[in-house]
Protein backbone atom coordinates (compact mmCIF):
# COMPACT_ATOMS: atom_id res chain seq x y z
CA UNK A 1 0.00 0.00 0.00
CA UNK A 2 1.32 3.42 -0.87
CA UNK A 3 1.42 5.94 1.96
CA UNK A 4 -0.80 8.25 -0.05
CA UNK A 5 -3.58 5.70 -0.25
CA UNK A 6 -3.29 5.01 3.44
CA UNK A 7 -3.55 8.67 4.28
CA UNK A 8 -6.72 9.02 2.25
CA UNK A 9 -8.10 5.98 3.97
CA UNK A 10 -7.57 7.43 7.41
CA UNK A 11 -9.01 10.73 6.28
CA UNK A 12 -12.16 8.93 5.15
CA UNK A 13 -12.34 7.18 8.52
CA UNK A 14 -12.15 10.49 10.27
CA UNK A 15 -14.71 12.14 7.99
CA UNK A 16 -17.14 9.33 8.50
CA UNK A 17 -16.56 9.42 12.23
CA UNK A 18 -17.26 13.15 12.36
CA UNK A 19 -20.23 12.98 10.02
CA UNK A 20 -21.87 10.14 11.88
CA UNK A 21 -21.14 11.76 15.19
CA UNK A 22 -22.74 14.99 14.05
CA UNK A 23 -25.82 13.10 12.84
CA UNK A 24 -26.02 11.24 16.10
CA UNK A 25 -25.56 14.36 18.19
CA UNK A 26 -28.33 16.06 16.22
CA UNK A 27 -30.61 13.08 16.74
CA UNK A 28 -29.81 13.07 20.45
CA UNK A 29 -30.52 16.78 20.70
CA UNK A 30 -33.99 16.57 19.23
CA UNK A 31 -34.56 13.31 21.08
CA UNK A 32 -35.86 11.49 18.04
CA UNK A 33 -33.74 8.41 18.38
CA UNK A 34 -35.32 5.28 16.99
CA UNK A 35 -35.94 3.94 20.48
CA UNK A 36 -36.91 7.13 22.26
CA UNK A 37 -33.48 7.35 23.86
CA UNK A 38 -34.51 10.26 26.11
CA UNK A 39 -36.55 7.94 28.26
CA UNK A 40 -33.59 5.63 28.76
CA UNK A 41 -31.02 8.35 29.30
CA UNK A 42 -31.12 8.21 33.13
CA UNK A 43 -30.62 4.43 33.13
CA UNK A 44 -27.81 4.63 30.59
CA UNK A 45 -26.15 7.43 32.55
CA UNK A 46 -26.40 5.39 35.74
CA UNK A 47 -24.80 2.41 33.99
CA UNK A 48 -22.02 4.69 32.79
CA UNK A 49 -21.37 5.93 36.33
CA UNK A 50 -21.29 2.34 37.53
CA UNK A 51 -18.90 1.38 34.76
CA UNK A 52 -16.60 4.25 35.69
CA UNK A 53 -16.44 2.92 39.26
CA UNK A 54 -15.56 -0.55 37.96
CA UNK A 55 -12.95 0.91 35.62
CA UNK A 56 -11.33 2.95 38.39
CA UNK A 57 -11.31 -0.18 40.57
CA UNK A 58 -9.53 -2.16 37.87
CA UNK A 59 -6.99 0.59 37.20
CA UNK A 60 -3.40 -0.22 38.17
CA UNK A 61 -0.26 1.80 37.53
CA UNK A 62 1.51 -1.51 37.11
CA UNK A 63 -0.77 -2.60 34.26
CA UNK A 64 1.03 -1.43 31.16
CA UNK A 65 0.47 -1.90 27.49
CA UNK A 66 3.18 -4.03 25.91
CA UNK A 67 3.57 -4.86 22.27
CA UNK A 68 5.84 -7.68 21.11
CA UNK A 69 9.48 -6.76 20.53
CA UNK A 70 10.03 -6.05 16.86
CA UNK A 71 6.30 -5.74 16.14
CA UNK A 72 5.49 -3.75 13.03
CA UNK A 73 4.51 -0.13 13.69
CA UNK A 74 1.68 1.51 11.78
CA UNK A 75 3.90 4.19 10.26
CA UNK A 76 2.09 6.21 7.62
CA UNK A 77 -1.08 4.23 8.23
CA UNK A 78 -1.43 5.82 11.67
CA UNK A 79 -4.58 7.93 11.18
CA UNK A 80 -4.27 11.70 11.36
CA UNK A 81 -7.12 13.45 13.03
CA UNK A 82 -8.18 16.85 14.33
CA UNK A 83 -11.49 18.65 14.76
CA UNK A 84 -10.63 21.94 13.02
CA UNK A 85 -11.48 22.36 9.35
CA UNK A 86 -7.83 22.34 8.37
CA UNK A 87 -4.73 20.87 9.95
CA UNK A 88 -4.01 23.02 13.02
CA UNK A 89 -0.55 24.51 12.70
CA UNK A 90 1.01 26.71 15.36
CA UNK A 91 1.68 30.00 13.60
CA UNK A 92 4.77 31.47 15.27
CA UNK A 93 4.45 34.74 13.37
CA UNK A 94 1.03 35.31 14.90
CA UNK A 95 1.20 33.56 18.25
CA UNK A 96 4.90 33.69 19.06
CA UNK A 97 6.92 30.74 20.20
CA UNK A 98 4.83 27.69 21.19
CA UNK A 99 4.99 26.99 24.88
CA UNK A 100 3.41 24.33 27.07
CA UNK A 101 1.82 25.79 30.16
CA UNK A 102 1.59 23.60 33.26
CA UNK A 103 -0.68 25.31 35.76
CA UNK A 104 -3.61 25.07 38.11
CA UNK A 105 -3.20 23.30 41.43
CA UNK A 106 0.60 23.54 41.39
CA UNK A 107 3.11 25.37 43.54
CA UNK A 108 5.30 26.35 40.60
CA UNK A 109 3.49 26.93 37.27
CA UNK A 110 5.66 26.08 34.28
CA UNK A 111 5.89 27.53 30.82
CA UNK A 112 7.98 25.17 28.74
CA UNK A 113 9.34 25.62 25.24
CA UNK A 114 9.77 22.57 23.05
CA UNK A 115 13.49 22.72 23.86
CA UNK A 116 12.68 22.72 27.58
CA UNK A 117 10.50 19.64 27.10
CA UNK A 118 13.18 17.85 25.11
CA UNK A 119 15.70 18.54 27.86
CA UNK A 120 13.48 16.96 30.51
CA UNK A 121 13.66 13.31 31.54
CA UNK A 122 12.77 11.45 28.37
CA UNK A 123 10.74 8.26 27.89
CA UNK A 124 10.48 6.24 24.68
CA UNK A 125 7.76 3.63 24.37
CA UNK A 126 6.20 1.56 21.61
CA UNK A 127 2.56 1.05 22.49
CA UNK A 128 -0.92 0.52 21.11
CA UNK A 129 -3.32 3.33 20.37
CA UNK A 130 -6.91 2.26 21.05
CA UNK A 131 -9.46 4.25 19.10
CA UNK A 132 -13.08 4.39 20.27
CA UNK A 133 -14.01 3.32 16.74
CA UNK A 134 -12.45 -0.08 17.29
CA UNK A 135 -9.17 0.14 15.42
CA UNK A 136 -5.74 0.08 16.94
CA UNK A 137 -2.46 1.48 15.67
CA UNK A 138 1.09 1.13 16.90
CA UNK A 139 3.78 3.76 17.14
CA UNK A 140 6.85 4.60 19.10
CA UNK A 141 6.45 7.75 21.16
CA UNK A 142 9.11 9.89 22.81
CA UNK A 143 8.14 12.39 25.41
CA UNK A 144 7.94 13.39 29.05
CA UNK A 145 5.73 11.63 31.55
CA UNK A 146 2.83 13.75 32.76
CA UNK A 147 3.81 12.58 36.24
CA UNK A 148 7.23 14.16 35.63
CA UNK A 149 5.58 17.46 34.70
CA UNK A 150 3.42 17.22 37.82
CA UNK A 151 6.51 16.64 39.93
CA UNK A 152 8.39 19.51 38.31
CA UNK A 153 5.47 21.89 38.87
CA UNK A 154 4.90 20.71 42.43
CA UNK A 155 1.33 19.54 42.10
CA UNK A 156 -0.77 20.06 45.23
CA UNK A 157 -3.27 17.75 46.89
CA UNK A 158 -6.10 19.79 45.34
CA UNK A 159 -5.29 18.22 42.00
CA UNK A 160 -7.83 15.46 41.40
CA UNK A 161 -8.14 15.96 37.67
CA UNK A 162 -6.05 17.19 34.77
CA UNK A 163 -7.32 19.09 31.78
CA UNK A 164 -5.32 18.76 28.57
CA UNK A 165 -6.07 21.74 26.33
CA UNK A 166 -5.13 22.37 22.72
CA UNK A 167 -5.06 24.89 19.90
CA UNK A 168 -7.18 22.55 17.73
CA UNK A 169 -10.29 24.75 17.98
CA UNK A 170 -11.64 24.20 21.51
CA UNK A 171 -10.47 20.60 21.80
CA UNK A 172 -9.59 19.48 25.30
CA UNK A 173 -10.14 16.42 27.47
CA UNK A 174 -9.94 16.16 31.23
CA UNK A 175 -8.59 13.07 32.97
CA UNK A 176 -8.68 11.54 36.41
CA UNK A 177 -5.37 12.10 38.22
CA UNK A 178 -4.57 8.37 38.53
CA UNK A 179 -4.68 7.78 34.77
CA UNK A 180 -2.70 10.95 34.08
CA UNK A 181 0.00 9.82 36.52
CA UNK A 182 0.29 6.41 34.84
CA UNK A 183 3.92 5.79 33.77
CA UNK A 184 2.81 5.35 30.15
CA UNK A 185 0.96 8.67 29.98
CA UNK A 186 3.24 11.03 28.11
CA UNK A 187 3.37 14.49 26.69
CA UNK A 188 4.93 13.21 23.48
CA UNK A 189 6.86 15.34 21.00
CA UNK A 190 8.21 12.61 18.74
CA UNK A 191 6.65 9.68 16.94
CA UNK A 192 8.53 6.83 15.30
CA UNK A 193 11.82 8.64 15.87
CA UNK A 194 10.84 11.99 14.35
CA UNK A 195 9.33 15.15 15.79
CA UNK A 196 5.54 15.06 15.53
CA UNK A 197 4.09 15.87 12.12
CA UNK A 198 1.32 18.42 11.68
CA UNK A 199 -1.26 15.65 11.32
CA UNK A 200 -0.23 14.00 14.56
CA UNK A 201 -0.50 16.90 16.97
CA UNK A 202 2.72 18.89 16.55
CA UNK A 203 4.48 20.25 18.45
CA UNK A 204 3.34 18.10 21.42
CA UNK A 205 0.42 15.90 22.34
CA UNK A 206 -0.80 13.59 25.05
CA UNK A 207 -0.31 9.94 24.33
CA UNK A 208 -1.22 7.03 26.54
CA UNK A 209 -2.47 3.51 25.95
CA UNK A 210 -4.55 3.66 29.16
CA UNK A 211 -7.25 5.84 27.60
CA UNK A 212 -9.14 5.68 24.32
CA UNK A 213 -7.66 7.80 21.54
CA UNK A 214 -9.99 10.75 21.90
CA UNK A 215 -8.80 11.39 25.45
CA UNK A 216 -5.28 11.93 24.09
CA UNK A 217 -5.36 15.65 23.31
CA UNK A 218 -3.19 16.64 20.36
CA UNK A 219 -1.81 20.12 19.57
CA UNK A 220 -1.32 20.50 23.30
CA UNK A 221 -0.99 23.95 24.87
CA UNK A 222 -1.99 23.58 28.50
CA UNK A 223 -1.84 20.99 31.24
CA UNK A 224 -4.08 22.27 34.01
CA UNK A 225 -4.34 20.43 37.32
CA UNK A 226 -7.68 21.00 39.00
CA UNK A 227 -9.92 19.84 41.81
CA UNK A 228 -12.92 19.15 39.53
CA UNK A 229 -13.34 17.39 36.24
CA UNK A 230 -13.82 19.54 33.22
CA UNK A 231 -15.50 17.31 30.62
CA UNK A 232 -13.96 17.38 27.20
CA UNK A 233 -14.60 17.85 23.52
CA UNK A 234 -16.05 14.39 22.81
CA UNK A 235 -17.18 13.91 26.39
CA UNK A 236 -19.45 16.94 26.08
CA UNK A 237 -20.78 15.44 22.85
CA UNK A 238 -21.91 12.25 24.55
CA UNK A 239 -18.88 9.98 24.65
CA UNK A 240 -17.96 8.52 28.02
CA UNK A 241 -15.66 10.66 30.11
CA UNK A 242 -13.50 8.00 31.73
CA UNK A 243 -12.83 5.95 28.57
CA UNK A 244 -10.15 3.77 30.16
CA UNK A 245 -8.69 0.75 28.44
Amino acid sequence: MSPRFVDEQSLIDRRRFLALTATGAAAALVGCDSFGSRRFEPALAAAQRGNEKVERLLFRHRSEDRIPAGARLSGNAFPQYFVSDTVPIWDEAMRGLWRLEVSGAVRQPLSLSLDDLVRMKRVAQSVDHFCVEGWTARAQWIGVRVSELARAAGVTSDAQYVDFQSFDSDYHESWDMASAMHPQTLVAYAMDGRYLGAGHGAPARVHSPVKLGYKNTKYLTKVVFMPLRNGGYWTDRGYEWYAGT
Partner: protein
Protein backbone atom coordinates in the same frame (compact mmCIF):
# COMPACT_ATOMS: atom_id res chain seq x y z
CA UNK B 1 -33.27 -33.94 41.57
CA UNK B 2 -34.97 -36.64 39.51
CA UNK B 3 -33.27 -40.00 39.31
CA UNK B 4 -34.49 -40.65 35.82
CA UNK B 5 -32.32 -37.80 34.60
CA UNK B 6 -29.28 -39.42 36.18
CA UNK B 7 -29.69 -42.63 34.24
CA UNK B 8 -26.96 -43.15 31.65
CA UNK B 9 -29.45 -42.97 28.84
CA UNK B 10 -32.04 -40.24 29.11
CA UNK B 11 -34.04 -41.81 26.30
CA UNK B 12 -37.10 -41.49 28.43
CA UNK B 13 -40.09 -43.65 27.89
CA UNK B 14 -41.69 -41.88 30.77
CA UNK B 15 -42.04 -38.13 31.09
CA UNK B 16 -39.43 -36.38 33.22
CA UNK B 17 -39.98 -36.16 36.99
CA UNK B 18 -41.22 -32.62 36.67
CA UNK B 19 -43.63 -33.75 34.05
CA UNK B 20 -44.88 -36.59 36.18
CA UNK B 21 -46.71 -34.15 38.45
CA UNK B 22 -50.05 -33.87 36.75
CA UNK B 23 -51.85 -30.60 36.96
CA UNK B 24 -55.30 -30.32 38.51
CA UNK B 25 -56.71 -29.91 35.04
CA UNK B 26 -54.74 -32.70 33.44
CA UNK B 27 -56.55 -35.22 31.29
CA UNK B 28 -59.47 -32.92 30.89
CA UNK B 29 -60.98 -33.45 27.45
CA UNK B 30 -60.38 -30.35 25.39
CA UNK B 31 -63.59 -30.84 23.48
CA UNK B 32 -66.62 -32.87 24.16
CA UNK B 33 -68.42 -34.48 21.31
CA UNK B 34 -69.22 -37.69 19.57
CA UNK B 35 -66.24 -40.03 19.07
CA UNK B 36 -66.14 -39.38 15.35
CA UNK B 37 -65.14 -35.73 15.74
CA UNK B 38 -61.67 -34.45 16.63
CA UNK B 39 -61.07 -35.80 20.07
CA UNK B 40 -57.94 -35.10 21.99
CA UNK B 41 -56.88 -35.41 25.60
CA UNK B 42 -54.80 -32.58 26.97
CA UNK B 43 -52.04 -33.60 29.31
CA UNK B 44 -50.90 -30.45 31.02
CA UNK B 45 -47.63 -30.67 32.86
CA UNK B 46 -45.58 -28.03 34.59
CA UNK B 47 -42.54 -27.91 32.39
CA UNK B 48 -40.70 -24.60 32.66
CA UNK B 49 -39.70 -23.08 36.00
CA UNK B 50 -40.43 -19.37 36.42
CA UNK B 51 -36.71 -18.56 36.76
CA UNK B 52 -36.08 -20.09 33.35
CA UNK B 53 -39.04 -18.25 31.88
CA UNK B 54 -38.07 -14.86 33.30
CA UNK B 55 -34.41 -15.15 32.30
CA UNK B 56 -35.46 -16.41 28.88
CA UNK B 57 -37.65 -13.40 28.13
CA UNK B 58 -35.08 -10.97 29.49
CA UNK B 59 -32.69 -12.52 26.97
CA UNK B 60 -35.25 -12.07 24.22
CA UNK B 61 -35.23 -8.33 24.88
CA UNK B 62 -31.63 -7.76 25.87
CA UNK B 63 -29.80 -9.96 23.36
CA UNK B 64 -31.08 -8.23 20.22
CA UNK B 65 -30.26 -4.85 21.80
CA UNK B 66 -26.78 -6.11 22.65
CA UNK B 67 -26.15 -7.55 19.18
CA UNK B 68 -27.54 -4.55 17.32
CA UNK B 69 -25.67 -1.99 19.43
CA UNK B 70 -22.53 -4.10 18.99
CA UNK B 71 -23.01 -4.02 15.24
CA UNK B 72 -23.38 -0.23 15.41
CA UNK B 73 -20.09 -0.03 17.30
CA UNK B 74 -18.55 -2.39 14.76
CA UNK B 75 -19.67 -0.10 11.93
CA UNK B 76 -17.41 2.69 13.23
CA UNK B 77 -14.56 0.49 11.99
CA UNK B 78 -16.07 -2.48 10.16
CA UNK B 79 -12.89 -4.49 9.93
CA UNK B 80 -10.25 -6.10 12.08
CA UNK B 81 -6.87 -5.13 10.64
CA UNK B 82 -4.57 -3.10 12.82
CA UNK B 83 -3.62 0.12 11.04
CA UNK B 84 -0.77 -0.61 8.64
CA UNK B 85 -1.47 -4.34 8.66
CA UNK B 86 -3.86 -6.70 6.98
CA UNK B 87 -6.12 -9.29 8.57
CA UNK B 88 -6.28 -12.82 7.29
CA UNK B 89 -9.71 -13.97 8.20
CA UNK B 90 -12.50 -11.54 7.49
CA UNK B 91 -13.71 -11.35 3.88
CA UNK B 92 -15.86 -8.24 4.36
CA UNK B 93 -13.17 -5.90 5.69
CA UNK B 94 -14.36 -2.30 5.41
CA UNK B 95 -17.98 -3.13 4.54
CA UNK B 96 -20.41 -1.79 7.14
CA UNK B 97 -23.34 -3.83 8.49
CA UNK B 98 -26.69 -2.59 7.10
CA UNK B 99 -27.95 0.21 9.35
CA UNK B 100 -31.30 -1.54 9.78
CA UNK B 101 -29.57 -4.26 11.80
CA UNK B 102 -27.92 -1.75 14.14
CA UNK B 103 -29.16 0.03 17.22
CA UNK B 104 -28.09 3.05 19.23
CA UNK B 105 -28.15 5.65 16.47
CA UNK B 106 -24.53 6.67 16.68
CA UNK B 107 -21.27 5.32 18.05
CA UNK B 108 -21.52 6.88 21.52
CA UNK B 109 -25.20 5.96 21.86
CA UNK B 110 -24.53 2.37 20.84
CA UNK B 111 -21.65 2.19 23.31
CA UNK B 112 -23.85 3.43 26.15
CA UNK B 113 -26.43 0.73 25.36
CA UNK B 114 -23.81 -1.95 24.91
CA UNK B 115 -22.05 -1.19 28.19
CA UNK B 116 -25.36 -1.01 30.06
CA UNK B 117 -26.93 -4.13 28.53
CA UNK B 118 -23.82 -6.17 29.27
CA UNK B 119 -24.66 -6.07 32.97
CA UNK B 120 -28.26 -7.08 32.35
CA UNK B 121 -27.14 -10.06 30.30
CA UNK B 122 -24.32 -11.12 32.61
CA UNK B 123 -26.51 -10.95 35.74
CA UNK B 124 -29.31 -12.70 33.86
CA UNK B 125 -26.96 -15.47 32.74
CA UNK B 126 -25.61 -15.93 36.27
CA UNK B 127 -29.13 -16.20 37.71
CA UNK B 128 -29.99 -18.80 35.06
CA UNK B 129 -26.82 -20.83 35.54
CA UNK B 130 -27.02 -20.78 39.35
CA UNK B 131 -30.65 -21.88 39.08
CA UNK B 132 -29.73 -24.70 36.68
CA UNK B 133 -27.11 -25.86 39.14
CA UNK B 134 -29.17 -25.59 42.35
CA UNK B 135 -32.31 -27.01 40.79
CA UNK B 136 -30.49 -29.87 39.08
CA UNK B 137 -31.81 -28.99 35.66
CA UNK B 138 -28.30 -28.87 34.30
CA UNK B 139 -28.59 -32.64 34.02
CA UNK B 140 -31.12 -32.19 31.24
CA UNK B 141 -28.62 -30.11 29.27
CA UNK B 142 -25.22 -31.60 30.08
CA UNK B 143 -23.67 -33.57 27.23
CA UNK B 144 -23.86 -37.34 27.64
CA UNK B 145 -22.46 -40.33 25.89
CA UNK B 146 -24.64 -41.19 22.94
CA UNK B 147 -25.71 -37.61 22.27
CA UNK B 148 -24.07 -37.63 18.86
CA UNK B 149 -25.86 -40.84 17.95
CA UNK B 150 -29.18 -39.49 19.21
CA UNK B 151 -28.66 -36.18 17.43
CA UNK B 152 -28.02 -38.10 14.23
CA UNK B 153 -31.21 -40.06 14.92
CA UNK B 154 -33.13 -36.77 15.06
CA UNK B 155 -31.59 -35.65 11.77
CA UNK B 156 -32.55 -38.97 10.19
CA UNK B 157 -36.07 -38.51 11.50
CA UNK B 158 -36.28 -34.98 10.09
CA UNK B 159 -35.06 -36.33 6.74
CA UNK B 160 -37.82 -38.99 6.78
CA UNK B 161 -35.28 -41.79 7.13
CA UNK B 162 -36.93 -42.79 10.41
CA UNK B 163 -40.70 -42.98 10.65
CA UNK B 164 -41.38 -42.37 14.33
CA UNK B 165 -40.17 -39.42 16.37
CA UNK B 166 -37.33 -40.66 18.60
CA UNK B 167 -38.14 -40.34 22.30
CA UNK B 168 -35.20 -38.59 23.90
CA UNK B 169 -36.63 -36.95 27.00
CA UNK B 170 -37.52 -33.34 27.74
CA UNK B 171 -35.13 -32.09 25.06
CA UNK B 172 -33.95 -34.12 22.12
CA UNK B 173 -30.21 -34.28 21.56
CA UNK B 174 -30.22 -31.57 18.87
CA UNK B 175 -31.97 -29.21 21.29
CA UNK B 176 -29.72 -30.23 24.13
CA UNK B 177 -26.64 -29.50 22.05
CA UNK B 178 -27.98 -26.06 21.12
CA UNK B 179 -29.05 -25.17 24.67
CA UNK B 180 -25.75 -26.35 26.07
CA UNK B 181 -23.74 -24.50 23.42
CA UNK B 182 -25.52 -21.19 24.08
CA UNK B 183 -24.07 -20.49 27.55
CA UNK B 184 -20.68 -21.78 26.41
CA UNK B 185 -20.60 -19.43 23.44
CA UNK B 186 -22.02 -16.65 25.61
CA UNK B 187 -19.17 -17.12 28.09
CA UNK B 188 -16.72 -16.79 25.21
CA UNK B 189 -18.46 -13.59 24.13
CA UNK B 190 -18.33 -12.15 27.65
CA UNK B 191 -14.64 -12.99 28.13
CA UNK B 192 -13.56 -11.67 24.72
CA UNK B 193 -15.73 -8.61 25.35
CA UNK B 194 -13.95 -7.90 28.64
CA UNK B 195 -10.66 -8.43 26.80
CA UNK B 196 -11.41 -5.65 24.30
CA UNK B 197 -12.97 -3.41 26.96
CA UNK B 198 -9.84 -3.57 29.16
CA UNK B 199 -6.91 -4.49 26.88
CA UNK B 200 -4.42 -2.71 29.15
CA UNK B 201 -5.78 -3.29 32.66
CA UNK B 202 -6.54 -6.94 31.86
CA UNK B 203 -3.70 -7.37 29.41
CA UNK B 204 -3.30 -11.04 30.36
CA UNK B 205 -6.89 -11.79 29.35
CA UNK B 206 -6.46 -10.00 26.03
CA UNK B 207 -3.31 -12.06 25.44
CA UNK B 208 -5.27 -15.26 26.09
CA UNK B 209 -7.21 -14.43 22.94
CA UNK B 210 -4.02 -13.57 21.05
CA UNK B 211 -4.14 -9.80 21.51
CA UNK B 212 -6.67 -7.05 20.94
CA UNK B 213 -7.31 -7.67 17.24
CA UNK B 214 -7.97 -11.37 17.75
CA UNK B 215 -10.06 -10.79 20.86
CA UNK B 216 -12.23 -8.44 18.84
CA UNK B 217 -12.49 -11.09 16.12
CA UNK B 218 -13.44 -13.81 18.61
CA UNK B 219 -16.05 -11.44 20.09
CA UNK B 220 -17.53 -10.97 16.60
CA UNK B 221 -17.43 -14.58 15.40
CA UNK B 222 -18.80 -15.93 18.69
CA UNK B 223 -21.63 -13.39 18.41
CA UNK B 224 -22.44 -14.71 14.91
CA UNK B 225 -22.42 -18.24 16.32
CA UNK B 226 -24.81 -17.28 19.12
CA UNK B 227 -27.12 -15.50 16.67
CA UNK B 228 -27.17 -18.63 14.47
CA UNK B 229 -28.03 -20.79 17.49
CA UNK B 230 -30.82 -18.38 18.45
CA UNK B 231 -32.17 -18.27 14.89
CA UNK B 232 -32.10 -22.06 14.70
CA UNK B 233 -33.89 -22.25 18.04
CA UNK B 234 -36.59 -19.78 17.04
CA UNK B 235 -37.05 -21.50 13.67
CA UNK B 236 -37.51 -24.90 15.31
CA UNK B 237 -39.94 -23.51 17.88
CA UNK B 238 -42.25 -22.28 15.16
CA UNK B 239 -41.62 -25.08 12.69
CA UNK B 240 -41.78 -28.06 15.06
CA UNK B 241 -43.06 -27.19 18.53
CA UNK B 242 -44.99 -23.90 18.63
CA UNK B 243 -46.94 -25.31 21.59
CA UNK B 244 -43.80 -24.95 23.71
CA UNK B 245 -44.35 -21.18 23.59
CA UNK B 246 -47.12 -21.76 26.11
CA UNK B 247 -44.76 -23.39 28.57
CA UNK B 248 -42.18 -20.65 28.10
CA UNK B 249 -44.90 -18.13 29.05
CA UNK B 250 -47.08 -19.92 31.62
CA UNK B 251 -44.86 -22.86 32.48
CA UNK B 252 -47.55 -25.38 31.46
CA UNK B 253 -47.01 -27.73 28.56
CA UNK B 254 -49.58 -29.93 26.85
CA UNK B 255 -47.81 -33.22 26.27
CA UNK B 256 -50.50 -34.42 23.93
CA UNK B 257 -49.23 -31.70 21.58
CA UNK B 258 -45.56 -32.56 21.89
CA UNK B 259 -43.55 -33.21 18.71
CA UNK B 260 -43.37 -36.85 19.76
CA UNK B 261 -47.15 -37.04 20.06
CA UNK B 262 -47.64 -35.33 16.72
CA UNK B 263 -44.70 -37.11 15.09
CA UNK B 264 -43.74 -33.60 13.99
CA UNK B 265 -41.00 -32.62 11.61
CA UNK B 266 -40.34 -28.98 10.57
CA UNK B 267 -43.65 -27.68 9.15
CA UNK B 268 -44.98 -31.24 9.14
CA UNK B 269 -47.77 -32.37 11.45
CA UNK B 270 -47.89 -28.90 12.99
CA UNK B 271 -51.56 -29.31 13.92
CA UNK B 272 -52.77 -31.54 16.75
CA UNK B 273 -53.03 -35.12 15.72
CA UNK B 274 -56.49 -36.53 15.07
CA UNK B 275 -56.79 -39.66 17.10
CA UNK B 276 -59.79 -40.87 15.15
CA UNK B 277 -57.97 -40.79 11.84
CA UNK B 278 -56.59 -44.15 12.80
CA UNK B 279 -53.70 -44.56 10.39
CA UNK B 280 -51.18 -44.21 13.23
CA UNK B 281 -52.42 -46.31 16.10
CA UNK B 282 -50.06 -44.94 18.76
CA UNK B 283 -52.07 -42.93 21.31
CA UNK B 284 -51.32 -39.26 21.45
CA UNK B 285 -51.39 -39.16 25.22
CA UNK B 286 -48.00 -40.11 26.54
CA UNK B 287 -48.70 -40.46 30.23
CA UNK B 288 -49.00 -44.22 30.66
Amino acid sequence: MGNSARRPSPVARRPSPVARRPSPIARRPSSIGPPSTIHRMTTLVKRTHWVVRVTHWINVIALPLMVASGLRIFNAYPGFARKGESFCCYPFEGKPIPAALTFGGWLAGARHWHFAMMWVLVVNALVYLVFLYLHGEWRELAPRRGDARRAWQMIEFYLFAIKEHPRQGKHNSLQKTAYFAMPVVAALIVLSGIAIWKPVELHWLTMVFGGYVWARYVHFVAMILLVLLVLGHVFMVFAVDPYSLRSMITGWYDESLSPEARNARPFYHLLPRRESSGDHSRPAVTGD
